[in-house]
Amino acid sequence: MHEYSLAQALLAGLQDHLRRNPVPGRVVKVHVRKGELLSLSEWALREAWRLLTEGTELAGSELVLENVPVRVRCPACGYAGEARRLTEEGWHIAVPILSCPRCGSPVEVLEGRDLAIVGLTVGEAPGT
């Protein structure tokens, strides 16, 4: 529901990065990690990216989204790993449960709230 504002934040951050660290060619793919806990539509994010990059140096670049599963840590028993998921018939979504899969205690979220650019695929520079 807030894909445009977050796509704008990703774009602004990347443009700032590219001003300080120019790349030898055109950016063709932007690799993004998206946490499973976030309520973001991948389709809407890609569409927002397409529209917001129009007229910028990133026009035509593709947003490649990698879903980051929720990983948790249990302060009680030390478990660290993927969260348990609840899948109920008719829910049509696997819900990550913030409870230790091993001992049932409350857990901390290690990963799964991320929204970060983690890499770029850069094409050949023009004229080379």
Binding site: L10, H31, V95, D114, L115, A116, L120
Partner: protein
């Protein structure tokens, strides 16, 4: 073609940093803050007013920040009840974020309150992704929304530790079983606390305060 890998900055990490700054600002003034979320018309404002009454009876000073897309109706209700209050209009944004709340805190008389309720924009999707830097989160559901609210919005409930099922006095009229909502919530959040409330009559308000740690 070649790939450049490495962190380029997490855009939500920035929100977490701003939320920590808000938390530090609130703690510096000794203020406990509660982020109150829930659908439009679930009874967030009325419930805050009832909670505020009980807290003031205990000698605590209470204030409120109202977050809405437009208008200042909730702000006016808080002011009419004598609470220091401030309105945030998000200008079509469907949730409050830590940046907006940070500016509100700069302008809020934090020295005049012990407890601050931050009423989020009516929405059960987006607020879950934006921590504000509060001590506790509360989601309000009203029985008049139907008994399927948790199943339709499981992520926000999986991440929220206190839920008020409000308007329970109307459950029979709308044919909704509040226990069904509570059972769904316990499945997605085994550690959460559920309180049945009817804000207009004051039912459950003391229990809700206890669940919020007061």
């Amino acid at each position: 073609m070649h790939d450049l890998m490495g962190p380029f900055g997490d855009v939500l990490q920035r929100q977490l940093e701003l939320a920590s700054q808000n938390y530090a600002r609130l703690k510096a003034k000794g203020v406990r803050a509660i982020n109150v979320m829930g659908a439009i018309g679930s009874g967030k404002t009325e419930l805050i007013l009832r909670l505020a009454e009980k807290l003031r009876e205990r000698g605590l000073r209470v204030g409120a920040i109202a977050g809405d897309v437009a208008g200042d109706d909730d702000y006016q209700r808080f002011r009419a009840a004598g609470l220091p209050a401030l309105q945030i209009n998000t200008g079509d944004q469907c949730h409050l974020d830590a940046h907006q709340v940070g500016h509100a805190l700069e302008n809020f008389p934090l020295g005049q309150v012990d407890v601050l309720f931050i009423e989020n924009v009516g929405n059960l999707v987006c607020p879950a992704d934006f921590p504000l830097g509060t001590d506790a989160d509360l989601v309000v559901i009203s029985v008049t929304e139907g008994d399927d609210m948790v199943r339709k919005h499981p992520k926000i409930f999986a991440q929220t530790d206190v839920v008020a099922i409000n308007k329970v006095d109307l459950a029979a009229f709308v044919g909704v079983d509040p226990e069904r909502i509570a059972a769904d919530y316990r499945r997605v959040n085994p550690h959460g606390r559920v309180v049945f409330t009817a804000a207009k009559s004051g039912r459950g308000v003391e229990e809700l305060l206890a669940a919020l740690g007061f």
